[in-house]
Amino acid sequence: MHGSDQHAALEGQIGQWRSYLHRRQAIHSVDVAELEDHLREQVSGLMESGLDADEAFLVAVKRLGRLDDLSREFAREHSDRLWKQLVVAGPDDGETRSGVRREAVVAFSLAVLAAVLVKLPALFGLDLDQDGSFYARNLSFFVLPLLTGYFVWKRGLISSTVTRWLAAGLAAAAVFANVYPFGPGGATEALTALHLPIALWVAVVGAAYAGHRWRETAGRMDFVRFSGELLIYYVLIALGGGVLMAFTALIFQAIGVDIEPVFESWILPCGAAGAVLVASWLVEAKQSVIENMAPVLTRLFTPLFAAVLLVFLGTMALTGVGIDIEREVLIAFDLLLVLVLALLLYSISARDPEARPGVFDIVQVVLIMSALAADAVALQAIGARISEFGFTPNRVAALGMNVILLVNLAWSAVLYLRFLRGRGTFAAIERWQTGYMPVYALWAALVVVAFPPLFGYV
């Protein structure tokens, strides 16, 4: 009896060890099988020499070496794999389906499903050209439910309560996007189209991505990293797709066939939707293997943006010309704050929280401060004349977003300065940023739910 207990415990431990190993992308499942054979041999050898199962397992695992080192050695030897595994998913011999392959199959099936979803409304007579507003409002629903489903599946959340909440959230969003009697070409409709993806991205996809860690700083930070990498991959795929389509158009032109109608109504919308899922899968598959791109770009552009803003502020101070207030200006400053926030987030995500303050941190603070100063000038100009302009939905939405971003960056600057002076920790900045994330989702949801009735659906 005791022996079989021990045996079961050992099997459990080996299973756990195997799943740890499977998570390392550089180690294929054939290698895991090879290492497992080794581990078992070692364990039985040690047990014969008198150790019990527990001890034998610990010693055998220890002798295999640290998982990180092992993974690094495999990655060094199989550097090609880090690339190849994305295309030829799975091992080179007839090993049973690996996790990599199954995941690729799921991701690509979902991508195809997204492409089908995009074309589904056309079956009910909703044309992409004539019913553009329907597509604009429902853009999120072609892709985000599938992406959420992908992560629900991947994180093993299928039977958990989280999933029910996510489904409920998506359903509620679909209702709000479609029940309001929007006036034709109305501003509130455009605002819904713009804010719904934000709300769903942070609240639904974010929760699914982080899984059981969605309350934790680290889980949310991972989601921030994921979002940045996804954007980069998406842009790359779009570029590649563009090149492919240009060539296709050229060679078909040579035989006198115009592919533009097919391109506009099929390839572009379906490709754009499917690419989100493929890009997500790529980020997931590669995240642990190569250096991530977002932090690298951040390092490159933070000093440049800081320099541009400083020059802008300097020029404004020297020439004495105030900001000329147009509606677009507010949006431009919103975008500026978003950019600065993104630079901040990605430098946070890649920073070693234990590291001491350095030159780059000072540049970061300069960037935040100059963005705040520029935004303050713009806000002041708007505030002085807001009564003259009146409160349109667009202006209120842009102003609200501006205030939210401003609060975030201002407090980040305070925390950053404390950190530079050695009075605060870097973790506090991280906590503040991840803790603030729901605010964006709430504001975006508020715009979607409350603005249309508030402003009479104009």
Binding site: D37, H38, L64, G65, D69, L70, E73, E77
Partner: protein, 128 residues
């Protein structure tokens, strides 16, 4: 005894090739053989053997196949190739050269009295 990392890395190729030249083998058995050959002095971190085997396989010096062992588990066996054999012969020559050079100097050192005496004594008659 802790063997220097570079030395371990450098000696791993000839050792693995030579063990496979004896007979086809698999990871765990190769490690046991290394232990046996060095009288337990040479201990590798077990996991690190596999990237080495995979490198040799990529270079075409060994080839691998899966077999079902008597325990019922699938096991990956490695076999040395013709190219591996010639590589082994080449490595053997190189190591023998290094070994011979080291041997002579160890020999000279272990017999210090005459060596030092002659070394110190030599300049005097030349200078005189």
């Amino acid at each position: 005894m802790e063997i220097n990392k570079d030395l371990t890395a450098a000696s791993s190729t000839p050792l693995v090739l030579a063990i496979l030249a004896e007979e086809d083998s698999y990871g765990y058995a190769i490690l046991q053989r290394v232990k046996e050959l060095s009288g337990g002095q040479l201990e590798w971190t077990d996991g690190m053997l596999y990237p080495v085997l995979h490198r040799l396989s990529r270079l075409g010096l060994v080839e691998s196949r899966w077999e079902v062992a008597e325990s019922g588990r699938r096991r990956k066996y490695y076999r040395i190739t013709a190219e591996g054999q010639s590589q082994l012969a080449e490595q053997r020559r190189q190591w023998q050269t290094v070994d011979a050079a080291l041997r002579s100097i160890w020999h000279a050192l272990s017999d210090p009295a005459p060596a030092r005496a002659s070394g110190l004594a030599a300049p005097t008659p030349q200078g005189a």
